[in-house]
């Protein structure tokens, strides 16, 4: 057996770090050649724990993950747990109960001052200045062409304090771009090093967190945020997440983060890694920057026009281009594809076919543990991006029949229960 792991596991690669793998993207292969000269790179995502790769950064919880038996892999310059008990088990735990993820590798930038709201509004596509206190919203950081530099989440803690949470791969870029756009008119505080971020996700997440933090946490509205005491610490808590389920995200000191992690595990919350994080967000049809969106895609073709605020008239980076793009109908759209049968997993880069002709490429692909089939997203010509369209995806030489479906692939627990009722 000779294996190859898929590039998406690494995430976009920062410079000056040893590449974790030199992996073959999905390309056509001939089927089952009976010769031994099949040069394939070995499985790259082995245990990093004993390999001591000191060029990778570690979160403050690293030793706890090692002790828990996590499989550690490189991701965006960090040594992160990809799984503990197993990706499928962890995935089901979140859909059915609750799981906790260490997402301390993500960017955490506080923007502070009397001008913070107005300045951030000018840097991002969403009108964050109009956010009420104690509320968060998804947003985009765009370039002058309307291409997507990152898709951070922004929270307004109070009148003069905001928190911007961005992708790990873009933490430095987000900070530099926002700093350039804000230009000293508000204070920027990069708190990634000093803090831990945890995501507690699943229908039972609120119940578990209430045992640590009290009933106020379960009373938080969707996308609301607040600060709560925990023992002698203080935690930022928001009712947000990247799994499609109900859930919460916490930002706090390293010491408090470790204590919360340990207590949640002791209560029975499942520790979950980046593997399950990816399968969950894909089932929820949530885009991943670097795969589904990037500087060469615009919000309208990605279905993210709803986070571009053009009607308040305020200027922001990329506005002129986005105004033009909004008025033109996008020629291509990000569509959801679901395999009609078992036949291998669709992966990033695989060709999407219509009557044998290539009409697009898979941006994100994977296995859906809930649906027990392969699912993927791809930009398709607008006419083909409609629900019900029959297509195929070239999975290593085999044409796997797929159908365009509506997002999300898997609705959250509440909606799933309503279906049964």
């Amino acid at each position: 057996m000779r294996s190859r792991s898929y590039r998406p596991l690494d995430g976009p690669r920062p410079t000056a770090l040893r590449p974790a793998s030199n992996l073959r993207r999905g390309t056509n292969t001939t089927r089952h050649k009976n010769h031994a000269l099949y040069a394939r790179r070995r499985l790259e995502w082995r245990r990093m724990g004993s390999a001591e790769d000191t060029t990778l950064r570690r979160t403050p919880l690293y030793d706890l993950h090692e002790r828990q038996g996590a499989r550690i892999v490189p991701f965006a310059g960090w040594a992160m747990p990809v799984q503990y008990r197993g990706i499928v088990e962890e995935h089901h735990a979140v859909r059915r109960r609750a799981g906790v993820f260490d997402v301390s590798h993500m960017g955490r930038l506080f923007v502070v001052g009397a001008q913070a709201g107005a300045q951030l509004r000018g840097a991002l596509t969403y009108d964050v200045a109009s956010l009420p206190e104690g509320r968060g919203h998804y947003t985009l950081l765009c370039n002058e062409r309307g291409g997507i530099i990152d898709d951070p989440y922004v929270y307004r803690l109070d009148a003069e304090r905001f928190l911007v949470v961005g992708n790990a791969a873009n933490a430095g870029r987000d900070r530099d771009e926002i700093a350039a756009r804000v230009g000293g008119r508000a204070e920027l505080l990069d708190r990634q090093e000093q803090t831990v971020m945890l995501a507690v996700q699943g229908p039972a997440a609120g119940g578990y967190l209430a045992r640590l933090l009290g009933p106020e946490v379960a009373a938080l509205a969707k996308r609301a945020c607040t600060e709560l005491p925990y023992m002698r610490y203080k935690l930022f808590v928001s009712r947000t997440g990247y799994t499609g389920e109900d859930g919460f995200e916490l930002v706090t000191s390293a010491e408090a983060g470790r204590a919360v992690w340990r207590q949640l595990l002791a209560e029975g919350v499942e520790p979950c890694g980046l593997g399950a994080r990816d399968t969950l967000r894909l089932e929820a049809a949530l885009p991943l920057w670097g795969q589904d969106i990037d500087e060469d895609t615009n919000p309208y073709e990605a279905g993210l026009g709803w986070v571009v605020s053009l009607d308040d008239g305020a200027d922001f980076a990329g506005r002129p281009a986005l105004l033009r793009l909004r008025d033109e109908k996008p020629a291509r759209r990000l569509a959801c594809l679901r395999a009609d049968e078992r036949g291998g997993v669709m992966r990033h880069g695989y060709a999407v076919l219509r009557d044998g002709a290539r009409v697009g490429d898979v941006t994100s692909g994977g296995f859906s543990p809930t649906l027990e089939t392969s699912i993927a997203m791809a930009y398709l010509p607008a006419s083909l991006a409609r629900e019900g369209t029959a297509l195929a995806v070239d999975v290593r030489g085999r044409a796997l029949p797929v159908t365009v479906v509506r997002r999300p692939f898997v609705p959250h627990a509440e909606a799933r229960m309503e279906k049964i009722a």
């Binding site: 057996m1 000779r2 294996s3 190859r4 792991s5 898929y6 596991l9 089952h32 050649k33 009976n34 010769h35 031994a36 099949y38 394939r40 499985l43 995502w45 082995r46 245990r47 004993s50 390999a51 499989r71 990809v82 799984q83 197993g86 990706i87 499928v88 088990e89 593997g275 399968t279 078992r342 036949g343 291998g344 997993v345 994977g366 296995f367 543990p369 290593r396």
Partner: protein, 135 residues
């Protein structure tokens, strides 16, 4: 799980157990652990001829896909239907219920080229050490 003594092993982490002329083939505990949750196995059809060490198919997990190689030459008799609906059997029972396929073996002497259970254990321990030594 101790490596069973009643079969032979390849350096590509397949096992083969001979029963008269019939060889049953699967992957090892080490392989399933490295791969993670198996979600799909692509196997040849009955009647196909395989050469020793030639590629016979692919086994796919959530995060990786791996080529499978024939430990011995032969003609495919059957494949394990249980793992089509339940590929997770390969994880939970790699030496037993998670078997992959059976061949009619032409030349049992080919098994002499393979590793014994103890030799395979030494091999995987060596692999683990190599990983630990990597800079």
């Amino acid at each position: 799980m101790p490596t069973p003594d009643d079969r032979r092993y390849t350096k590509e982490h397949e096992w083969v157990r001979l029963d008269g002329e019939t060889a049953r083939i699967g992957i090892t505990e080490y392989a399933q652990d490295q791969l993670g949750d198996i979600v799909y196995v692509d196997l040849p059809e009955a009647g196909e001829h395989l050469d020793q060490f030639g590629k016979l198919g692919e086994i796919e997990s959530v995060k990786a896909v791996s080529d499978l190689f024939a430990p011995v030459s032969g003609d495919v008799l059957s494949t394990n239907h249980a793992i089509v609906e339940h590929p997770e059997l390969v994880n939970s029972s790699p030496y037993d219920e998670g078997w992959l396929l059976e061949l009619r073996v032409a030349d049992p002497a080919e098994l002499d080229k393979l590793l014994s259970a103890r030799e395979y254990d030494a091999f995987t321990e060596g692999e683990a050490k190599d990983e630990a030594m990597r800079p």
